[in-house]
Every structure is written in C-alpha cells, then in structure tokens.
Symmetry: C2
Subunit: 112 residues, 2 copies
C-alpha cells in the first residue's frame, strides 16, 4: 500500500512546521523505538502499550508521507511489513535525544 | 490568581514526561515568544494569531503549574499581568532552538 501523500501543512514558521511533522503525543516516541533498527507493527505496539492500532497506523502513515519512516515489505501477504527510519528520519535523532535529556531532568526535578 | 497545581502526569519515560510538559501545538511556541522577555496576554496573542484566548489561558496555566512560566502582577486590576519564563523555563531554550533548526530544514526540504 503506497504511502498516501497527505497535504503537508508546511508553515513558514520553523517551529510550527516541525511540530506539524513530529509533534503530538506519539511521533517522537515512534522515532525513538525505530532508532535501533526496523520493527514490525506488532513490535512497535509492544513498546508503546497505551497506543491503539488505529492511532499507530495513522501516525505511521503521516511519518511515511513526510519521508521520516519507510515501509519494508518482505514479500506477498502475509509476509511481515517492517517500518524503519529513512536517512531523513535519522536527522531527528539528535532532537529526540535533546527532548529525552530535558525530560529526564524534568522527572528528577519533580521527584526531588 | 495563584497557579492551579494540576496533577502533573510525570511518566517514568523521559520522552513522555517531556511531551506531557511541553508537547502539543502551542507550548514551545509560547516559550519561544517569551524568550526575549516578558509579555502580557494580548501581546502573546498578537504573535500567535490562530490561538484562541481560552486555549492560550489553558496552555499558560499548565506552563505555570510546571514552573516553566511565571506571572508578574504589576498592581491591582486592571494593572497588566505579564508572563515570563522562569529560570527553569529558560532551560528549554536549547530544545526550542533544536526543534526550530530541524523545522527550518524541513521547510527547505519540501520547498526544494
């Protein structure tokens, strides 16, 4: 199934453009779990226990449309389909790390 | 009006904790516009044309509750109230810059 190229709401504001592409509750977490290598759908859901299949499908489709993730089809159905970061998607890993570092400090601050 | 300390959904996952505190469509943009100094409510809304007063109030209250923003009251009503980044809020500015830099590249990539 080819990625549906959604109309990408590219704003001329860099922050708004970035948040449109990777904002929201799940996308950075999906990118985080794909950092070490490709995973199939069920493997991703295992790591993200509170995401529904419908929401994960929608988030993956948006990441596909923005060329951040790619689909690796390993053969005719029912062969598994894997999701992986594109090279462009890997450009987000420093951003993911920056957010994680701040988040770690935020947890420690509120536990102190 | 003292900031209502909302129960802060601090997850033990750094990414989830960070996204709970500064995720969503508006918070990083509010932090960006407060980086150069305090602003009153109307001044913030002027910079963020498509945000409603209700949503801006709610986002500011959450940022107040997480000690990212503070309220400067300049006198009894109707004296203006200003919003400013706390020192802790300023710890987010490198993250805002990282997201803006990626966003700028994302805009250029889709314009190319």
């Amino acid at each position: 199934m080819p990625a549906i190229r959604r109309r990408n709401p590219i704003s001329d504001c860099p922050l708004t453009a970035a948040l449109a592409a990777v904002g929201g509750k799940w996308k950075l977490i999906i990118i985080y779990w794909l950092a070490d290598g490709r995973r199939h759908f069920a493997g991703l859901r295992q790591e993200m226990s509170s995401i529904s299949a419908k929401v994960l499908t929608q988030q993956l489709n948006e990441l596909l449309a923005d060329d951040i993730v790619r689909r690796d089809e390993t053969g005719p159905a029912p062969a598994p389909v894997y999701y992986a970061l594109t090279d462009y998607g890997r450009s987000l890993l420093p951003l993911v790390e920056t957010v994680r570092t701040w988040g770690r400090g935020h947890i420690e601050r509120f536990e102190a």
